[in-house]
């Protein structure tokens, strides 16, 4: 009797201990990610007046369509204008702007430009394209500092390292400190990480918009395909399929498929979708299809469980008043199984969203410097982007960015879950 009580106590306390350990680990996990990831959303940024000097930006007026001109001819003139703009030395504009704040930089244009990330040169050009009227004006702008400047100012590199191991020359380091002290360089919330695609030349403005769109496209494809196919397959297997060797075999195989390592699906996708069907490599379409294949077994199994959980008496009741089998299922069984099916879907999609392995095999780990506009375009995915960033050689900068990407990915999952919970509540209370 006493021993039984002791055992019960022991069981009770080991349970509590397990929960505490689990919670601690989850806390550490979130803590470190937030600690490294959140600061990455704030970046060292120049806030200063930039003068679009007409001496430097020597360019004709932006072409306007002329009456009687064909669209092709106009397009050609416009392209020529943009091409000319490409020869404008926007670096000189930035150099002059910084010199105003830091006169001693006048003699060192190259070192000065090392302060600002190179992507801002194109950002200036885009401003002119959008509004040529800006030429000759002085505008207060925010320009992202170079990634190495950000690392230096945030203290993410040891300041006592000898010059040979520093990424920046002593002069640039001194200037960065000086500009920060005078308030020209500020730590500002930056939208670059959300708005821009990945970049290798302008690290500070590298963003995950491309990967985000890729993941979004894949998520939509998985939901659009895996939901109807999986639910239909589950309904057929659970409600209509005759019990025989063939269906037994199918059932065993579906269960086995759920346990197949995901990378194998990537191989399958590479062969079937890319080599046989000639779908574009690295596209989120192929990624979505592969992830659909990977998700289907999970969806089918969980949907069947949800269907099985609907009491047979409900089916009998519907059949008893003259509903056909299909009506009994659509009117009664499916609505009751809907919360379970939704859960199945969310589990499947969340799994797909976090998957990296199969995507590597269909080329989605390639560096893509543009935001995909359609599922046919080359793209990466959030988990792949995290992998790419975390393995970038400029670790001091990309560690934080990787964690920031993890935060975005987790946010996406949370949003997905919130929608699922909301839908469940809705369907459960709607009698």
């Amino acid at each position: 009797m006493r021993r039984r009580q002791v055992r019960e106590k022991l069981f009770h306390w080991s349970g509590i201990a397990a929960v505490v350990i689990a919670l601690t680990l989850v806390g550490i996990f979130f803590g470190t990610i937030l600690k490294t990831g959140l600061p990455a959303f704030w970046q060292s940024t120049f806030v200063m007046d930039v003068h679009f000097d007409p001496e430097v930006v020597q360019i004709g007026p932006k072409p306007e369509p002329m009456p009687g001109e064909s669209p092709a001819a106009y397009q050609q003139r416009f392209n020529q204008w943009q091409l000319d703009l490409g020869f404008v030395d926007f670096g000189q504009i930035i150099h002059k702007s910084i010199v105003k704040q830091l006169p001693e930089a006048a003699e060192h244009p190259d070192e000065t430009l090392a302060l600002v990330t190179s992507g801002e040169l194109f950002a200036l050009r885009d401003r002119v394209v959008a509004d040529p009227g800006i030429i000759g004006q002085t505008v207060r702008l925010k320009l992202l500092a170079d990634a190495n400047v950000d690392v230096w100012l945030k203290g993410n590199i040891d300041r006592d390292l000898p010059d040979t191991q520093q990424q920046l020359s002593p002069l640039v380091r001194a200037w960065a400190d000086q500009l920060q002290a005078s308030g020209v360089i500020q730590n500002k919330f930056s939208t670059a990480i959300f708005m821009n695609p990945d970049s290798r030349s302008s690290l500070a403005s590298a963003g995950l918009a491309g990967a985000f769109m890729g993941s979004l496209f894949m998520m939509i494809i998985v939901i659009l395909l895996a939901m109807p196919i999986g639910v239909a397959a589950a309904i057929y297997l659970e409600e209509f399929a005759p019990k025989n060797r063939l269906t037994d075999l199918i059932e065993v195989n579906i269960n086995n498929l759920a346990a197949v390592p995901s990378i194998v699906f990537g191989l399958l996708g590479a062969v079937v979708f890319i080599m046989w069907f000639n779908l574009p490599m690295s596209s989120s379409l192929v990624g979505g299809l592969v992830l659909t294949l990977m998700t289907l077994p999970t969806v089918i199994i969980a949907t069947r469980a949800a269907l099985k959980a609907v009491p047979p008496s409900i089916r009998e009741a519907a059949l008893g008043v003259g509903a056909s089998k299909m009506q009994a299922i659509t009117h009664h069984v499916l609505p009751l199984a809907r919360p379970g099916i939704l859960t199945a879907m969310i589990i499947g999609v969340a799994q797909a969203l976090g998957e990296t392995g199969p995507l590597l095999l269909i080329g989605m780990s390639a560096f893509v410097a543009s935001i995909p506009a359609t599922p046919f375009d080359q793209s990466t995915a959030l988990p792949v982007q995290i992998y790419l960033w975390e393995s970038n050689e400029l670790r001091n900068f990309f560690e934080g960015r990787g964690s920031a990407a993890i935060i975005v990915l987790l946010g996406m999952m949370l949003a997905l879950n919130a929608v699922a919970i909301w839908l469940r509540k809705r369907f459960e209370t709607r009698w």
Partner: protein, 281 residues
């Protein structure tokens, strides 16, 4: 053995009193509503019912009694072809409803189930509002063209099932929130709503308390006016109280069929006597 027991026992008086049914099907011709000939049911290779033949008259209540597992439910479910829905179940023999073979290709099983309603052992209302429970059948069969007509059917069905007064103020409340007895009466209302000729009841009171049971029995008495009822019961007193005729089944055979008073007072078969006197079962 069964043929000679087969009941001439139905009394003429009852046949004369065929009422006009509200929205019901054709009145029974010559009084025979349902008839089965040599009906056998197989579950896979296992024969659960060994050739049963019997007739059921219009507007009578027939009780099926017998020990558990003797095939009462199996036989009952033949009349609305519910066995079709059981994987591996096979039915042979002939069953007619109003003289028409229910296995005929021309017969729509959906129509058949509207005509032969069923109430199950465990109350199984849909997890929907009371109103929707009753309205489901009429909607399914397109019996009504307007909301007010549907309202009327729902009300009259609930009235006939003796539930209207208890639920009329909460038709939007879920049917699953009612008490067991109320749920079962709701299921009866649901069956009535599609204006069937026959109602099959498979141990409708086995999950209910005595008061709820008494209400259902009372209801069966009233429903008899308009419907033909076959009720499976394991409760001998209940069979005696509600039925006109009683059929005793044993191990997949129909052993004896006669008026209820005859079965309970002067059974012709030894096994029937053993069962009704409680020697086994």
């Amino acid at each position: 053995m069964m043929e000679n027991n087969m009941a001439q026992a139905t009394m003429g008086a009852k046949l004369d009193a065929l009422p006009n049914k509200p929205g019901g099907g054709p009145a029974a011709s010559g009084g025979i509503k349902l008839s089965s000939r040599d009906v056998r049911v197989f579950y896979g290779d296992n024969e659960a019912l060994h050739g049963v033949s019997m007739d059921v008259m219009a507007n009578e209540v027939v009780a099926f009694i017998g020990p558990s597992g003797c095939g009462k439910s199996t036989f009952l479910r033949c009349f609305n072809r519910m066995n079709d829905t059981v994987a591996g179940a096979r039915v042979t023999g002939q069953i007619t409803l109003d003289g028409r073979d229910i296995h005929d290709h021309a017969i729509d099983v959906v129509q058949l189930r509207a005509q032969v309603g069923m109430v199950f052992q465990k109350p199984n209302p849909f997890p929907k509002p009371i109103y929707e429970n009753v309205a489901y059948g009429p909607r399914l069969h397109g019996l009504t063209s307007s909301k007010s007509e549907l309202d009327q059917i729902v009300e009259s069905s609930l009235r006939r099932a003796g539930l209207w007064e208890e639920v009329k103020d909460r038709l939007d409340a879920p049917g699953t929130g009612l008490s067991g007895g109320q749920q079962q009466r709701l299921c009866i209302a649901r069956a009535i709503a599609v204006s069937p000729d026959v109602i099959l009841m498979d141990e409708p009171c086995s999950a209910l308390d005595p008061i709820a049971t008494a209400k259902i029995e009372e209801l069966i008495h009233e429903l008899k006016e308009n419907y033909t009822i076959i009720i499976v019961t394991h409760n001998m007193q209940q069979a005696a109280r509600v039925s006109d005729r009683t059929a005793f089944f044993h191990l997949g055979d129909l052993i004896e069929l006669g008026t209820t008073s005859q079965i309970f007072t002067t059974p012709k078969q030894q096994r029937t006597e053993d069962y009704v006197t409680g020697r086994y079962g």
